[in-house]
Symmetry: C2
Subunit: 533 residues, 2 copies
């Protein structure tokens, strides 16, 4: 593909992308292909001679599009959003054009320096405490995902805890051999912590780092971790000879967007740290909800997690920057580089050695990196603070409209958590015709029927494919509650889309209710006939 | 930015990218900015209201370009190449447009299915044994970088070794508590291995996984790991109570593109495994040189590493696919998912549960993933097998031309390793005028002077910035050799570029030699004058 062929191909690709976005509402949001669909459409192997772009491009609509779930559709109300935007796409075009491994400053100074500048800007935009910015001992870095960020901080937390332990033992006069022996034993006892609502990536990070992971149960209906629960867990671990070294606290949990009680967690950690030089690393996971910190009404929140060692949110979720752009901030960058830096001869240069430059490879797991700050720079400049605030505000308005609708429809729905950050989590009531009492049997039968109906409604909605939602299970065993999560954060989402979603869901509820009542009537009839025999 | 503004902006961006590529030879390949240059050019903060694309785009040439090192320039002869291409850029445009977190099959089936198909195709293109493809128990997955791939396999190797150990102890009738105690001790003794020429990412992977790492010394001038050396190292570790569980073997080392002796390594491992059910995981790191396996003359090589557990090469180095596209193949995909799978309720769906689909999140560290197979698909279809072969062949021809030139110039240069995969590693001889004997003093003085001259030549070349090369240090202490690495693999590189590089380097040699001789003459004169006093 020469330059003029590329110009033609790229123009055609841009037309296709624009058409895709302009008409995305008309596409079935959820793909309905069956596993293995693509193998049947694509001839095996690589062609011997090159193909024309027209032939390649034709396959995008014909073969790829049917297998896509359209995350940019306003009817995508599942998981959390994964925003893309035109300025973001432009950023990745240049990133591709300027391709370089960028593992140190010298590889392309602009890649490192723009990242530092952009992350400081974004940190201020979300009102982060100054400690997390680059002027002092902290700073920000772009990671691929929040889960990758958590893997990084768990490894750093583990190594910091081991280093602090070694220092303590050395001060006590232990020999190197004795210290090594004790480190070995300690590794086996280290425990990473998160609440039962924290994202599973903490568990995965612990698996990668080779340490244990335990969860702390939160209260049903609250779903937020408190200092009291943490203190109790620490005591429990200590009683079992185990050693907590890391905690994921969450701003906006995945199931319900609950926020842990940062002030009481801060106090609990301060009390714990009063008696030991061995510090538990606290990471604030705000992967999705962190974007809401651009709003003035949330500007006070970051001060409440100033005690944390690290903070992370994904611009690629709710802040109009196409995947991947996960912003990780640390209070002390040395904590990362102590755990992740190796500097072999062929990566050495006068700039790195001077300490004047940041080598982000020492802040992350991979060596090489893309020029990801370009897209974040384009997005923040192209939208401006006002544009980014307007986008998040619009989603919040969508969420509030949906809350209003379900609150006004107590016959069909019960909110199972306080709506937060544009997310509503609702369960569907059993059909009123069945007259299942809410409170008898401790609500067990009601919950069971509600869970069944909610699951059937969720499956029906996704089978229809007019909107895409996910369901979640809160609590355990008899107490567990199945609920539908509805969150509209796509770039083009409007309040009317959530009104439509309410209609689609309600139609599904009515259909499932009718089936349930019919089944119950048939069962009752059968019962009567059996008794008559 | 609305659709019509995007069309205009994207057309302007495409024109700029085409102009950048068409005239890249004219740009100074190595950036000459000083640390902190960008802070002075960019006003702090995010603008309150959005800016026009024209204003943003203007800053690319004015502010970003000066801080770029141009990896696509034919004058970029440093590190290893990091190819970009037009079809690759188109792939990332669509990947951005279709942005989705893609952490499981259902998120967008096309993302998963195309990756499996493309990696099978690419695996066949580089003549991988069938065991590494998806039809059996193995398969390929796109990772961000070779270092990330190595982190993944080290974690998987560690967990496989621990699982095999646990199974052995359970079979011996040990209790759960006893087994846990022994696992804890074993973790502290596990050692990941690589030769002294293996990439530093093995060391970093071991740091992340929380295990030891040791290197095995190779012979000077050979730089390849042999079975004999591995066997000796295993015996040494066992004598010290340590336990090897993982080995990085390399096809094309970073310093000299040496290739480990796979047949003898295979035999050594087979001998070791004959007496134990606990398997050492061997990973073949072919990050750069793997691309050369598209050439028919190397098609026999992959059969020699059929014994390995995993293999990795980067399409984003030498195969025209913009970063990131690192292809990792494993013999047994269960080894990865056993180590990396967690499946919480909100990530469950009927397709994942059925086992019919691949959820690549369980093959990697991060949860979310981009649609990276698109660019690999576009590149392989657009170039065809012939186009990819022609690209690698052209680089090989460049390398051979450079080899011919330095071999014909024994006055200036000595090749310090067998040229391989387009890489030449040369040291510069001391000025002939100084008449330093090559062999006296075991060659110590000659090496010392050669190293000094080589370092000065390398620094001078990169200061001039007509071409960009990296230097490397082989061996240790008195024996160490400083050498210049020259490898031309950029998409537009021609044999004439390497002829030019030879001229540029030779001019630098002559200039440094003249300085050295002048300094030596001045020193001698001073000596004479001092003696005269």
């Amino acid at each position: 593909m020469d330059s003029s062929q590329f110009r033609q191909a790229a123009h055609a690709a841009i037309d296709q992308i624009i058409d895709y976005y302009d008409n995305i509402r008309d596409r079935r949001v959820l793909s309905e292909v069956q596993p293995g669909y693509l193998r049947e459409l694509i001839p095996p192997g690589i062609p011997q001679t090159g193909e024309k772009w027209e032939d390649i491009q034709r396959d995008i609509e014909a073969k790829i599009m049917p297998g896509l779930t359209h995350w940019q559709s306003p009817n995508f109300l599942a998981f959390f959003p994964a925003n893309s935007s035109y300025p973001g796409i432009l950023g990745d075009m240049y990133s591709g054009a300027f391709t370089c491994a960028a593992f140190n400053w010298q590889c392309s100074p602009a890649v490192t320096e723009l990242e530092t500048i952009v992350l400081d800007n974004v940190g201020r935009l979300v009102h982060l405490p100054e400690e997390f910015l680059s002027a002092g001992e902290g700073g920000g870095v772009i990671q691929g995902t929040a889960s990758e960020a958590i893997a990084v901080v768990v490894v750093a937390a583990r190594d910091r805890y081991l280093a602090q332990s070694k220092a303590t033992w050395a001060a006590e006069g232990l020999s190197e051999d004795e210290i090594e022996e004790k480190v070995c034993t300690l590794r086996g006892k280290l425990v990473a912590l998160g609440s039962d609502q924290a994202h599973s990536s903490t568990k995965k990070a612990a698996m990668i780092a080779g340490v244990r992971c335990e969860t702390i149960e939160t209260a049903m209906g609250e779903y937020k971790l408190t200092g009291e629960q943490l203190t109790a867990k620490i005591a429990d671990l200590q009683a079992r000879g185990l050693v907590p070294f890391y905690l994921t606290a969450t701003l906006g949990t995945t199931p319900t967007c609950a926020t842990d009680d940062f002030p009481s967690l801060s106090a609990a950690l301060a009390a714990h740290h009063a008696s030991t030089p061995l510090k538990i690393w606290t990471h604030i996971d705000a992967a999705y909800a962190g974007a809401a910190l651009v709003l003035p009404e949330f500007a006070h929140l970051p001060a409440t997690f100033a005690f944390a060692d690290s903070f992370n949110f994904n611009m690629h979720k709710w802040l109009l920057t196409n995947f991947d752009c996960s912003c990780l901030y640390v209070r002390r960058r040395r904590d990362l580089t102590d755990a992740l830096s190796i500097t072999p001869a062929y990566l050495r240069n006068e700039y790195s050695d001077s300490g004047l430059v940041t080598d982000y490879r020492d802040w992350q797991i991979p060596l090489g990196r893309r020029f990801r700050s370009l897209k974040a720079w384009f997005v923040t400049r192209s939208y401006g603070a006002d544009g980014l605030i307007a986008h998040v505000r619009k989603s919040m308005d969508c969420g509030k409209e949906f809350t209003k609708l379900v609150k006004g429809d107590a016959k069909r729905y019960t909110l199972v958590a306080e709506p937060a950050y544009a997310l509503n989590v609702v369960r569907v009531n059993p059909p009123p015709e069945l007259e299942i009492p809410v409170d008898s049997d401790g609500g067990k039968e009601f919950r069971k029927r509600s869970n069944e109906v909610t699951r059937k409604v969720a499956e029906r909605i996704n089978r229809e494919g007019k909107i895409f939602i996910t369901s979640t299970v809160l609590g355990k065993g008899d107490e567990s509650v199945t609920a539908i999560r509805v969150v509209g954060g796509a770039p083009r989402v409007q309040v009317s889309d959530l009104q439509n979603a309410y209609r689609v869901i309600s139609e599904a509820v009515d259909a499932v209710w009718a089936e349930e009542v019919a089944a119950e009537t048939a069962r009752a009839k059968e019962q009567v006939e059996l008794q008559a025999v």
